[in-house]
């Protein structure tokens, strides 16, 4: 599914319509859990779309993206913690519970982490790159497990969602729409980026670094920039998640979380604009449905994923294209 193609525009319009109507449908059906479920899907869609930028478009198989998701979450959690207990952070009274401060802070901090990790990891390629991103993420995971001051293993509870204007953020429907706004902005940003000069270079790097070097492109700096943008996006998702769940813990950074994000990208269609949204929805819905039937839902999830990935090359986004081309 090419960004800008007719099928994409149609899919976007359709997705937007469904998403805007969803809380009202949930209320009409007397099933408010639908709204929180959709919020989870949207937040993970941002995280997966971030990973998709490097994995799907750039061909960089980062197996440590949960680290940035966690860093974004912890930024919100730690700022709230200091706000609540009126404690100094780095010797300053930096604590806050304001969305418009915590969110940019989370994006910035995760971007810095991505810059540091990417600068080192991108000196390698292939399996080595997969392993080194995984190793960095696990390092951060264990760091936060050991960080007793911020709850260690138990994580950090955020008593109240961050404040945003006069909105009642406690209300799940309000928070859903706030999340939806960020999803729309973020996907629009990704769309612009992948079609820009930068995006074309990124796609070229995926297909042939040797060719890119031969036209005079120093690939490292573009990969690093993509990695940083991607880390920032994952950090944004983490910050939204911290607000949604009112809780952060090292589990946000666990390697299985990185794996889930990769599954979402591949399942939805790597290197497609809306693939991550489809992938996030499919994975979370599958988990939810299976978990309702059996406790050992993970046993069934694996084979289902394998079937989808094997039979629909190009993921769910590819499936959408297929269906649209039929008639």
């Amino acid at each position: 599914m090419e960004p800008g193609s007719r099928s994409t525009i149609l899919a976007i319009a359709l997705a937007l319509g469904v998403l805007a109507a969803l809380p009202f449908a949930a209320a009409a059906l007397g099933n408010p859990a639908m709204t929180t479920l959709a919020t989870r899907i949207l937040i993970y869609a941002i995280a997966a779309a971030s990973l998709n930028l490097v994995l799907g478009y750039g061909g960089l198989v980062s197996f440590g993206h949960a680290a940035f998701f966690g860093i974004g979450g912890y930024t919100v959690g730690i700022l709230f913690h200091h706000h609540r207990f009126n404690e100094a952070l780095f010797g300053l009274m930096l604590g806050t519970d304001q969305f418009l401060i915590t969110l940019p802070a989370a994006i910035l901090v995760s971007g810095l982490f991505a810059a540091a990790i990417g600068a080192l990891a991108l000196r390698t390629a292939g399996v080595q790159f997969i392993m080194i991103t995984l190793a960095f993420a696990q390092m951060l995971f264990f760091l936060f497990v050991a960080l007793k001051r911020y709850g260690g293993d138990d994580g950090l509870i955020i008593r109240r969602r961050n404040g945003l204007f006069d909105l009642n953020m406690r209300d799940d429907t309000t928070f859903y729409f706030v999340t939806l706004v960020f999803v729309v902005l973020f996907f629009a940003l990704v769309w612009r980026i992948v079609n820009s000069r930068f995006g074309l270079v990124l796609g070229g790097i995926r297909q042939g670094e040797r060719r890119m070097a031969a036209i005079g492109v120093s690939t490292y700096r573009y990969k690093l920039a993509a990695f940083v943008i991607s880390g920032m996006g994952a950090g944004l998702a983490g910050a939204l998640w911290a607000n949604y769940a009112r809780f952060v813990s090292p589990d946000m950074m666990h390697w299985t979380k990185s794996g889930e994000l990769m599954v979402m990208v591949i399942l939805g269609g790597a290197g497609t604009l809306l693939g991550p949204l489809f992938g996030s929805a499919a994975l979370i819905l599958l988990e939810t449905v299976l978990a309702a039937y059996t406790e050992r839902w993970q046993v069934f999830l694996g084979p289902i994923l394998i079937v989808i990935i094997l039979f629909f090359r190009g993921g769910l986004a590819g499936l959408v294209d297929l269906v649209r081309k039929r008639p």
Binding site: G4, R192, I193, N195, S196, R197, F198, G199, L200, V201, G203, G204, Q207, G208, R210, R211, M212, A213, A214, I215, G216, V217, S218, T219, Y222, A225
Partner: protein
């Protein structure tokens, strides 16, 4: 006049194999210097060293008066080197136009532009289309590289290289695998470039080489065994036994 490319006693070993053996060679401005030699003589290996993809064990490469040691391939390209690959290196999902536009873009400066729609940018597609026309690919602009024929890929390789406005073109067997008509087209194209761009042409097609080259050097086992005009090379007994006699031509 000083040489645009000066290769000085370059040596490259792969384990026990010596792929470049104290090779010294130069290309003068505007000259088309052909490099011939049997399979495995080390022709591609020297091109890869000129590009900086392979680092010589010893010796020096001077391009435009500047030593190339320590410069990465992309940096050399920005200094005016261009190449085509013997085994084409194209981006399968990108169209012919994408490739050339991307090369125009890379030549225009950095690509840290995150917002404008690059495929709609006439500053890129305009010059790119002109180059596709020049290389005979205009009607195939919208076709993905994966769907281009072998000959079209070879033409595209050249169009991409030209987009970088190189001062020196390194052509690694641009005619290999082309049909008669395509070969004639390629020869015409290169003839048209002669004098404007210096070229180092690696080629097995002797008719093409004799039609195009100002000077021919013969590489055998990484060493230059003869260098001279077409007539001199054809008359050289060493070349006959080492190369032409093997029936490769």
């Amino acid at each position: 006049m000083s040489a645009i490319l000066d290769i000085r006693a370059v040596v490259k070993r792969f384990g026990g194999l010596i792929a470049t053996d104290h090779l010294s060679l130069d290309v003068q401005p505007g000259e088309l210097h052909a490099l011939i030699g049997p399979n495995g003589a080390g022709k591609t290996t020297i091109i890869n060293q000129l590009m900086g993809e392979i680092i010589p064990d010893s010796g020096e490469i001077i391009f435009g008066g500047e030593p190339m040691a320590g410069l990465k391939p992309a940096a050399r390209v920005r200094r005016g080197l261009g190449r085509t690959f013997q085994i084409t290196q194209l981006l399968p999902d990108y169209t012919a136009l994408d490739h050339v536009a991307l090369a125009v873009q890379a030549h225009a400066g950095h690509s840290f532009h995150f917002f404008g729609a690059a495929r709609a940018d006439r500053r890129l597609t305009g010059p790119a289309m002109a180059l596709l026309e020049r290389t005979g690919l205009a009607t195939r602009a919208g076709v993905k590289a994966a769907s281009l024929s072998h000959g079209e890929r070879k033409q595209l390789e050249l169009a991409i290289a030209l987009a970088g406005e190189p001062r020196l073109l390194l052509l690694d067997e641009p005619m290999a695998g082309l049909g008669q008509v395509e070969t004639a087209q390629m020869v015409d194209l290169l003839k048209g470039l002669k004098g404007q761009i210096a070229m180092l042409l690696v080629e097995h097609d002797m008719d093409a080489v004799f039609a195009l080259a100002d000077r021919i050097s013969v590489l055998v086992y990484g060493r230059c065994i003869a260098s001279g005009s077409a007539a001199e090379i054809q008359a050289n007994p060493d070349v006959k036994t080492a190369y032409l006699g093997e029936g490769d031509a």
